[in-house]
């Protein structure tokens, strides 16, 4: 079965760092695509490595990313917890292991580190990408297309949310979520990235995160943004919201000619004086050659592989991701000041 229909017959040799859920997801998709092969996985856990060695045939399992240098790799996926992205990506570049790098979002744990990685990437001619998967979702792509075509006129304001029930009912003192970078990086980063993609550069204008006994609630954020054209936006982010079985990102955008609502499932367009139009995933050709986690993950990896093969920039490169980290950093610093 031909999975990626590229004229290019080259097959990329790809490795993955980290074998958590995102590592396994990307490893699987890479291995299924016609133009890429999974050749190695790096994981720091001895036990995990032993199981992987016995469970996966023909794939090299290593304990240190430096050992990837033996494999003449065309691309590396970094899917470790966010706090380790900086050291792993730096090791890949500095060790001249590979010049084409995909990093699961966010690019790094803070803006300073992200900036250093971005600067480092400029010294290499390879392709880079950060895994902001909503850019490959059919609903958000359709919304982007409608906004670019001026369907609702000039956007004047928006409200965005990023909600999940992941930690609903879980002890608030649990440290485990910190591995995922906290709610802002884990979930909020997607909403911020989509906003930057839709509207261009944004500045944080207000932080309305509610306080509890004078302390910032670490699992709930509310803040405002604006741009130079007078656009104003509000965000609400939490992973303790009831009835969000899977994480959901959504936008409600007001423009001079109408209103657009979009989330992971559907898009609604309401133009002034006209009846509203709703499109679900079903209406938007939501197919992919292989379905794992959602068709958008395949499209995301396919985009990266094609970009590497054709040596063209990606939809969501380190520079775009750096802008996300800049906004997240401003919000994190405000939180720290309030604690």
């Amino acid at each position: 079965m031909g999975v990626v229909s590229l004229l290019d017959k080259r097959i990329l040799k790809v490795a993955v760092v980290g074998s958590g859920k995102m590592g396994l997801l990307h490893a699987s998709i890479i291995n299924i695509m016609q133009n890429s092969n999974l050749v190695a996985i790096c994981d720091k856990s001895v036990l995990v490595r032993k199981f992987l060695k016995k469970g996966l045939k023909g794939i090299r399992i290593v304990d240190d990313v430096k050992k990837f240098s033996d494999f003449d790799l065309d691309a590396v996926y970094v899917t470790t917890p966010i706090p380790s992205h900086f050291s792993v990506v730096k090791a890949i570049y500095s060790g001249k292991i590979c010049q084409n790098i995909f990093v699961e979002k966010t690019l790094s744990a803070c803006y300073a580190e992200a900036k250093e990685l971005y600067d480092l990437s400029k010294s290499f001619p390879g392709i880079n990408m950060v895994g902001y998967v909503r850019r490959f979702s059919v609903t958000f792509r359709k919304a982007k297309d409608l906004l670019d075509k001026g369907a609702i006129g000039k956007p004047t304001s928006f409200e965005a949310y990023a909600f999940s029930s992941d930690l609903l009912g879980i002890d608030e003192t649990s440290k485990a979520p910190l591995n995922r970078g906290g709610v802002l990086k884990d979930l909020g980063s997607h909403a911020v990235d989509v906003a930057l993609w839709f509207f261009g550069d944004l500045n944080v204008s207000t932080d309305e995160t509610p306080l509890s006994d004078g302390v910032v609630l670490s699992d709930f954020l509310r803040f405002g943004v604006e741009n130079q054209n007078g656009l104003e936006g509000k965000f609400e982010i939490s992973w303790r919201v009831k009835n969000y079985r899977t994480p959901e990102i959504g936008f409600s955008i007001i423009g001079t000619k109408g209103k657009l609502r979009v989330n992971d499932d559907k898009i609604e367009l309401k133009l002034k004086g006209k009846s509203s139009l709703t499109m679900h995933r079903h209406d938007l050709h939501d197919n992919a050659q292989f379905w794992l986690g959602g068709p958008e993950y395949f499209r995301e990896d396919e985009h990266f592989v094609k970009s590497v093969l054709q040596n063209v920039g990606t939809e969501s490169d380190f520079l775009n991701a750096l802008k996300v980290d800049e906004i997240l950093d401003i919000l994190s610093q405000r939180d720290d000041e309030n604690v």
Binding site: K21, A27, I29, I32, K175, A176, R245, T246, H282
Partner: protein
């Protein structure tokens, strides 16, 4: 052809699906929030299943979770003479992904599962698990896990109920498929066959799965596959036409169509009319969230899908 595969070829199954009981709508989460949580109550879910049985359903397809096991306990004593065949899907991936998020990833999750196996007091599961850890053998660990889940199901049903099939969840099937883990497919098939349970695979990649199983010389007549088939082509990868062609070319009648209403996008009449045109369909699974839905859905299905 073995007795089991002959039996499999003959049977027609109309299954109640469990998505509404877990609060799932693949059309939109918003729809589910509007729908409310009534159908997620085990007693209410059991009522809906009983109503479905009275109107033509003959089985229940479910992910193995505390919710569905409670539902099973609720329906076992109330089903009277209605046939009840169970099609269990495991693991309940959503629960495990959520747990992984809460306990710090896959290592934390693995520890939690091991604890559960130990405290289940299932000796076979415990022994296999111990062997799996001691020898870092993934096969033993998976066997241990499967025994553990089987013991959970069996402790929730009475002897008159038939656990017809155990299917590997879509996430596991499709990762194993993509990573060429032939051994995992064969392990599941061997283990279930030994227990006179039909092995099955839930997949989002029907075309690719069938192609691979044939390549690995796995007898498709001895298993069931649950995969999306609907008039809208929703979740049919890589596309509707290729899925239909693969089904048409199949020599075995082993497909249980899921997502047949396109997650509520399609009208039942047009959805079931489409299903009636599909060759080699073994059965369907459909979720219901209201009594009226249960009656209408299974009456219509029984009428449209008479082989």
């Amino acid at each position: 052809m073995t007795k089991m595969s002959k039996q499999l070829q003959k049977r027609q199954v109309l299954l109640v699906g469990d998505n509404p009981f877990h609060g799932i709508s693949h059309l939109s989460q918003e729809r589910n929030r509007v729908r409310g949580s009534e159908s997620t109550l085990p007693e209410r879910a059991a009522d809906l299943i009983i109503t479905s049985f009275k109107n033509g359903a003959n089985g229940f397809m479910f992910s193995v979770s505390e919710t569905t096991l409670s539902i099973l306990k609720g329906i076992c004593g109330r089903r009277q003479n209605h046939p009840l065949e169970l099609y269990a899907i495991l693991p309940y991936a959503y629960e495990y992904v959520r747990l992984a998020n809460q306990v710090g990833g896959i290592p934390g999750l693995a520890k939690m599962i091991i604890k559960r196996v130990v405290f289940s007091r299932n000796l076979r599961a415990f022994a296999k698990g111990l062997k799996g850890i001691a020898s870092t053998d993934p096969k033993s660990l998976i066997e241990s896990y499967l025994y553990y889940e089987l013991s959970r199901i069996n402790s929730s049903i009475d002897r008159s109920v038939s656990l017809r099939s155990v299917l590997l969840h879509q996430l596991v099937t499709d990762i194993a498929l993509a990573l060429d883990m032939e051994w995992l497919f064969k392990l599941h098939i061997d283990l279930m066959s030994k227990k006179a349970i039909i092995p099955g695979f839930n997949t989002g990649n029907y075309v690719y799965l069938v192609e691979k199983l044939r390549k690995w010389n796995i007898d498709l007549a001895k298993l069931v596959i649950a995969a999306p088939f609907n008039k809208a082509g929703f979740q049919m990868m890589p596309n509707k036409a290729e899925c239909e062609q693969t089904l048409k070319d199949a020599k075995e009648r082993n497909l249980i169509a899921i997502s047949v209403l396109g997650a509520g996008y399609l009208d039942p009449l047009e959805a079931f009319a489409y299903l009636s045109t599909l060759p080699n369909l073994k059965g369907v699974a459909v979720g219901v969230s209201k009594d009226a839905h249960a009656r209408q859905t299974f009456r219509l299905l029984a009428k449209k899908l008479t082989y």
